[in-house]
Symmetry: C2
Subunit: 226 residues, 2 copies
Amino acid sequence: MKTKDKIVLTSLELFNTNGERNVSTNHIAAHMGMSPGNLYYHFRNKSDIIYEIFKNYELLVDSYLHVPSDRPIHIHDLISYLDAVFNGLWAYRFIHRDLEHLLSSDERLRDDYRHFTLRCLEGIQRIILAMEKSAIYRPMAEQQRKSKALNTWLIVTNWMTYLKSIHVSENAEEALSRKSIQHGVYLVLDYVIPYLYEDKRELALELQEKYRFDGIAPKPELSKAS
Amino acid sequence: MKTKDKIVLTSLELFNTNGERNVSTNHIAAHMGMSPGNLYYHFRNKSDIIYEIFKNYELLVDSYLHVPSDRPIHIHDLISYLDAVFNGLWAYRFIHRDLEHLLSSDERLRDDYRHFTLRCLEGIQRIILAMEKSAIYRPMAEQQRKSKALNTWLIVTNWMTYLKSIHVSENAEEALSRKSIQHGVYLVLDYVIPYLYEDKRELALELQEKYRFDGIAPKPELSKAS
DNA sequence: ATCTTTTTAGAGTATATACTCTAAAAAGAT
DNA sequence: ATCTTTTTAGAGTATATACTCTAAAAAGAT
């Protein structure tokens, strides 16, 4: 593997575990056992590394957010979408956690991210529409479809941040178990299910159950205020 | 007003407009026309300023997230909750935007925020339950109530970040108009309405309509990928 | 009027960070 | 075998930032 690719991989790993803000270019170089000078031979600056990582993420998401063209869409497709989405979210979790700062320090990323978001929202709407056509979703007005897509987006992109914020320990690795990530799928399904036709609901509820994870809120301790 | 309170106010203002990360203690002092030394006379460090701001926010939210004890709950109460929530969100918007970093650099804040979140989730659940009892919401299982509360929380706390991320300009002030903030109310209502009894839906839809704002996604431009 | 406490200014400092520059080593081409 | 290009190490730098320290001014108490 080329040094350049290794830098991207190492950076992603460090960003994910420590947060972009806490990982300097010196850290990345040190972690790879190379000199800072060398790192800067491969990348002009830190933003370029981040940008390249984002581009990979974009590619990943764009690759799976498609309505099947050769056959009607099925409930299982919905599950695969959600699975894929939350896996991607996990693999690039630093992006949504440090989004604010990333966007404010790189105009190019900001632009791309905006388009990426709009593209995803359109994709979700197309999926909803396809579901309506296969008699899975009840038909709805365009405005409603928009709201559904947006709410779904908000839930999905905030899931990582929520999980990190709710856990006691600073150390993300133990807190953010695979299981707790998957509970995101459960939540989105909870949002989706009321709009399904009655005959599909049972299957959906069954599938949903596999994603449930109750160990999220760590302590059932009594809260201070009412 | 005491200098200490002025520091808190100025900091909140600067954090909101520029993001906590981009506002140094030197900036705050300069913006107030005072010396850094003076600022550090009033606050031991930057974290203490942030902590005090958070405590104010906590107080604000805790003050309105209550089920009325003397009368049954009404749909209008729901609207007031949402109005209050989004106003609070706006007034302290830097918190949810820079949450990740704030929590990772202050253990005390981290703990308090966790409790705050759990408290809010419980509050939302209590409101849902009260709505069920006043024959507004259809009755649901506890697990479902939990999911609803959590999804609502995710939508609400991500709304600010979404708005900032989707706008072209770096300058938040023009992008984040009062109107676009309010669209968050519209979205949450969209989530809520299907669970209402039929006879309440029309009123809810009417109330919802006032919060609609279509100018969110700035350009209807064609996206690059399908 | 004098003493004490609070508040302020302003210069200064340690540290981290993103990034540069130069020279040497390694790899590749013919 | 020699030349050219790519890759690397390592020392160094400018800058921002959070925070400290000291001395003086202002405010308050009696």
